[in-house]
Assembly symmetry: C2
Homo-oligomer: 401 residues x 2
């Protein structure tokens, strides 16, 4: 298999290492930037290289539907197709398919609920026709694009990901929502474990395959899942599914699971990427992350700022570039940031671009946020290596950190 | 004044030279890329530098309304505001204001007509409240943004352009439409000439000021305008207004006017930028151009291609990247183009981005078209210097060229 992981330092639970893939090394801890449809929204590969992006996560669900894995394979695979020569991870497609089912909003909308699920409190959502139905064999769902009925199985997910050709692929799991009860989460977990074995069986390439630890916010299920998935010969381990209902809950889920995972294999936390969460998860032994937040925020004009520039937990380390306070502000978004946007443009100019809905707004803001979050990960890594991680964490999160 | 023009060669009517501005040299002939609201749509200054863009034209009308010339001046002027260190020209604002009036569609919509004007044949446009009214002093119009009444005079146009701080500014002229008759066009022309004198009088900066030759598609008015404007101490001369109703008409307007302009001053043709028009206008002695077409086409998925790649007059040197024929095409938009887009991405990938309406589509397509048209201008320049202009023109336009 094409993946090696070298642990360089473990300090106060935080790990620094190097994850080597056929498309280059990822110094860890690191965040993989999300490029859902074979592009990071608003950014080119040139921008990503300049921002120091160590790797990408692309979404199998979207690429399966359009333009299709056979097309991408015929054009030499995802790296060549999208002009990105660095490491790529693909997810299994499960998250999108199941979120169609349990209806939480993750870019595909709030659509329906599984049997046995409680309605989210105060959501006011009406029950609609269910778009995804799971059985032992796989999951049947309705395409959000054209309404056609499709079926995803562990074997098919692996086959699609093989055609896409990412360096790291993920096993198909059933991703449950925070509103699933214990009984349903356990049933889903057991099925996920049978699927994990089928994914390992189906693998026919040298791509690295990660298993996924599910179990919702139920300690015994999380522990059972971590023990079982860790016992299988995966190349790495991802933690997925519901991490509870608060940032504190996330920390607990990691405390239940991370200690049970093999120390010499990489650990990925799916879908997390806010600065404070990154610190908390690294402190509990996570090596890699992926998250749409930095780019999604950017397109809404929310720019990341460091503690030196006024970033705090309370403002989520962000400023809104649309505020009228910046109308004539000649300073960059973050005067301590060295990205192209901050070196060349003022808050006033960026605000103007956003007000005018100019396309350049989205690129410059995304470039900043991506550079910012990748720099933060580098800084975290350096602090682990030099033994000052807790100090850096306190600088960002305050004295209670 | 900060502008010098050095003519290096005149061959078969085509001129090659160097236009030196306080922000660098423009090797001519050259096309200035349009950056209406202090940004070239979808491209950053880094992209423009990489594409070899020699200079920009920004629109005074839009920047006057938002974010306002005082704001831009307080932030150090247009160059610093938008992070572009090369030459900039601003127009007078007149074109937008008058097109609000005569209602031809130039990005501000079909809105109304002047008194005395015939309705465009078959336009089916209804008369609406006129949005612009001209008198001797200036023009009163309704803002397209908030409906407020505004007034633009020659003195105000110069004052606004001075605050914006471009290297080259334009005199305020009354821009008539192809549907204005001779009598009205003559009245407007005489007023434009009085405004030209007022603009020269109002100039209080070292910015270069160009006069504008109007006169519609009426030979005697064009000749009269060229003689009068050429007699004034402008730093350069622009040809504006209606150039008739066909590409052949444009050639005739240039043949009436260019020979009357001082040979040692730069000549700018406003709003023209299709490859065949560029050849025809250069052949008649034009030095610089500006045009939204390359970037507007790009955002619609129309990519420029060279004769080697199948570009011809009949397809307007363009291919539509949305065609299903390119779905699995691994070749770049133009295999003979050296731009970043063509070096790194396939037609199949670009088509995918356009189909998914990904923001990167607009950047990569704009980067290609801008690089393409600037390379074409360089090639034209080299051909003039080496004495092979007619040969190059024939290669692009065919034997009738």
């Amino acid at each position: 298999m094409g993946l090696t992981f070298r642990l360089l330092a473990v300090r106060e639970g935080a790990r620094a290492g190097v994850l080597s893939t056929p498309h280059g090394d990822i110094p860890t801890p690191a965040l993989l930037v999300v490029g859902t449809k074979a592009t990071v929204k608003a950014l080119g590969p040139d921008d990503l290289e300049r921002a120091g992006v160590p790797g990408l996560l692309c979404n199998t669900y979207h690429l399966w539907l359009r333009p299709g894995p056979d097309l991408i394979a015929s054009l030499g695979g995802l790296h060549r197709f999208m002009g990105w020569s660095g490491p790529i991870m693909t997810d299994s497609g499960g998250f999108q398919v199941f979120s169609l089912g349990w209806g939480l909003e993750h870019g595909v909308g709030k659509i329906g609920f599984f049997p046995g699920e409680r309605e989210p409190p105060g959501s006011g959502a009406k029950r609609r026709e269910r778009l995804a139905r799971v059985d032992e064999e796989g999951v049947t769902f309705t395409s959000h694009l054209d309404g056609s009925r499709l079926r995803l199985t562990p074997e098919l997910s692996i086959a699609i990901q093989q055609k896409l050709g990412a360096d790291i692929i993920l096993a198909l799991d059933e991703c449950t929502s925070p509103f699933h009860d214990y009984a349903y989460t356990r049933v889903a977990l057991e099925r996920t474990h049978r699927w994990a074995l089928r994914c390992l069986e189906a693998r026919a390439s040298s791509q690295a395959l990660y298993g996924i630890v599910q179990g919702g916010y139920f300690p015994d299920l999380r522990i059972r899942a971590a023990r079982f998935i860790a016992s299988l010969p995966f190349d790495g381990y991802a933690i997925g599914g519901s991490l509870g209902r608060s940032k504190e809950d996330m920390g607990r889920v990691l405390e239940w699971t991370c200690p049970l995972l093999p120390e010499d294999r990489p650990r990925h936390l799916l879908g997390i990427g806010e600065p404070d969460d990154l610190f908390e998860a690294v402190a509990r032994g996570i090596d890699t992350f992926d998250c749409v937040a930095p780019t999604r925020w950017a397109r809404n004009g929310a720019l990341l700022i460091s503690p030196e520039a006024g970033g705090r937990r309370e403002n989520r380390f962000r400023l809104s570039i649309l505020r009228s306070a910046w109308a004539a502000d000649d300073s960059p978004p973050d005067p301590y940031c060295s990205c192209y946007t901050c070196r060349r443009f003022s808050r006033a100019y960026l605000r103007h671009l956003f007000k005018e809905e100019e396309l350049l707004a989205y690129r410059l803001a995304s470039l900043h946020n991506v550079h910012f979050i990748c720099s933060l990960m580098s800084e975290i890594r350096e602090s682990i290596l030099s033994g000052s991680f807790l100090e850096l964490k306190r600088k960002w999160l305050g004295s209670e950190a």
